[in-house]
Symmetry: C2
Subunit: 376 residues, 2 copies
DNA sequence: TCCCGGGGTTGAAATGTTTCAATATTTTGT
DNA sequence: ACAAAATATTGAAACATTTCAACCCCGGGA
């Protein structure tokens, strides 16, 4: 310990005697006044070793002799010492945590992706900090700023907006970044995603094959990439069938991709037109739409076919069971985590990878062929 | 880097050669070697002030003269300086983040409670770290340890196990703790919860009033407090009706409170007996049970009434719509956050509060009166 | 002229780790 | 028995911030 410091002597020897230790080592030891958290020096004192050795016990036990090891571990246990992550991190420069910024934590899609991510990250002893942006650019920016301040090793993000410039900038400053479920920045950032254009196309083909020619589309704001991608796929399917998307689709842009948003979006749609089929940009929106349709007494699928997107866990058991586009969520999560790990290892010049999974159509009871009577 | 160190010279000239600046200010300025993150010294150099002043600009701008303030802010902006949370935290001893440990992030109940919590905490500029224990005591312990290492200001937790001793201990070490949705430790810790006994009772009364006398109960492990509380309420309702719970209830204890768990639990139940009603300890379990019943071709509610618990968002739209017990989730979240804020302010001797909300029965299509033909 | 007060700024200590060169101790080889 | 090598431990610097006593400068009052 520094109890060899005789203050008088020191202040005599130095020009500016600023040394005023708030509490003497003895005070710290006796723990009388008490509430200081213990640190490695306490452990070291208790075990009769230096703090360097304590550090070695914690991080490189193979360097420490058996008896010392036991003694120090004993001290740690009896004292109840818990190392300080901030201090560790300050010294190391790098932290053992990564952040994930999702658009809406209330959407089961994300919570179903999460386990895949967590599984991989906890193997590496990484702490996952979950933030939800609620599709607000300000909130997203705030979360990113906080995460950067915390010097997280990396960030998984489904950006709320269209522009990824700020993320590229963040990456340039040394933080690993992986875009989750958001294609289209392949050359600049790593990405793990499901092909949303393809998914939209699957949905479109399905509805067309059932004979539908007037399709309502409850979509999100077009700056959300998933939304514009799915629309693009839908339109492609329609064009491939020799039709004009403008004639077939009535699109409503929802402010929020929630059940509530879906329900009010339905009202707006029905005030404009009465399609025979409804494509909802995700299952939560479809949930709200179904609720609205039930309220209005419009039968599904007889009077209106409805399909969702994501195939979340409850989709199969809705009334009626919901046709949807399934995404390999667990794999997506795992792949994203894997990418983040390599990206934040900071091999500055590794290639940005774009991992793309393929979606899959799942047909259930909520979509059926258009009855001839209502064919046009 | 430390090439300015001529060890021989220094160790010769000074008794204690502590000063070896790794990089000269010029080196920092030129940024040639590059990849060091910038710190307040860079800002200070750029603005021509001391780091103390930079700190003041950041934390107590009212102490700084106008022109200096502007100059420093300018420097911060042009340099793109981002303060280091770990360093700040190390010095301050306290952090701006709190943790929440939930049992299962995949359960919409939790994600529906979350917004209430976040709303309150982000007002205080606090970062919320979400962890999921998956009902594993080891995982929970690991999360708690990590959070303690990070010196979070407080922890919201729905404990996986029955014992809260370790949490009390944690609290004693100065971390704010609030139990979420887990009554019964009122004297030791703050709690925000919904009365689960009452909820179980509501469910029991409802099923009994419909004439059911053989009730299957898909419950979780009894060490999970919510589960034992709901059972207790169910049993109370049965006794109040002058019946013996042993005769009425067949209980299956699920390892996991998920849809998958519910589905396999149903198999186990039906292998033992064939009740007329099913009480599922939460809506996810009910989801799985419904899936299993559909697979077996057992009609709900005609051949078997089913009810869940939590009234999550999708419950109203399942096929058939699910009778459930509603909990005021948003309020619960807000109250919990509020408690945590007062608890972690560390007024050591404040009373531990227990805030209890009342649940509410929501009757839907999945439960109906027992047909006389099947009365026993 | 001197002293006082006060706003602005500075310098250095302190926070709890990790790292690593230097030293102390033990073992091995000859 | 001695040098060399291997092993174990130590001491102090460094990480980026906050805090606070000390200092400087300037104007005003006695």
């Amino acid at each position: 310990m520094s109890d060899t410091d005789k203050p008088g002597e020191i202040s005599a020897s130095r020009p500016r005697p600023r040394t005023n230790p708030r509490r003497t080592p003895e005070a710290a030891q006796s723990g009388a006044a008490g509430r200081r958290r213990l640190s490695m020096v306490d452990v070291a004192a208790h075990a009769g070793v230096s703090i360097g050795t304590v550090s070695n016990v914690l991080n490189r036990p193979e360097l420490v002799a058996e008896p010392t090891l036991l003694r120090v571990r004993e001290a740690i246990k009896t004292l109840g010492f818990v190392p300080s992550a901030p201090a560790r991190q300050l010294r190391a420069g790098t932290s053992r945590s990564v952040g994930i910024v999702v658009r809406d934590i209330g959407n089961p899609f994300f919570t179903e992706v999460l386990p895949g991510i967590e599984a991989r990250l906890s193997q590496e002893q990484l702490l996952l900090v979950v933030c939800s942006s609620g599709d607000s650019l300000e909130k997203e920016a705030h979360h990113l700023q906080t995460l950067e301040q915390h010097r997280v090793a990396g960030i998984l993000i489904t950006p709320a907006g269209d522009d990824v410039g700020h993320l590229v900038e963040l990456h340039r400053r040394g933080i690993g970044i992986v875009l989750l479920d958001r294609l289209g920045a392949g050359s600049q950032l790593c990405t793990a995603a499901v092909d949303n254009v393809r998914g939209g196309e699957l949905a479109g083909r399905h509805l067309l094959s059932l004979g539908h020619r007037r399709i309502g589309f409850l979509n999100g704001p077009s700056i959300v990439r998933q939304c514009s991608d799915r629309r693009q796929g839908l339109f492609r399917a329609i064009r491939d069938a020799g039709l004009d998307p403008e004639d077939v689709v009535t699109e409503v842009s929802l402010p929020a991709l929630t059940a509530q948003g879906g329900e009010t979006g339905l009202d707006e749609l029905l005030a404009r037109t009465r399609p025979t089929a409804l494509f909802c940009v995700n299952d939560m929106v479809a949930l709200g739409a179904l609720r609205g349709l039930e309220r209005r007494g419009i039968a599904v699928p007889d009077e209106m076919a409805v399909m969702g997107y994501d195939d979340v866990e409850f989709a199969a058991l809705l009334s009626p069971s919901l046709t949807s586009v399934r995404q390999p969520k667990h794999q997506l999560g795992q792949a994203a985590a894997e990418l983040l790990l390599t990206d934040s290892r900071g091999d500055a010049n590794h290639w940005h990878q774009e991992i793309v999974f393929q979606p899959e159509l799942v047909v259930r009871a909520s979509t059926s062929a258009l009855p001839r009577s209502r064919d046009h």
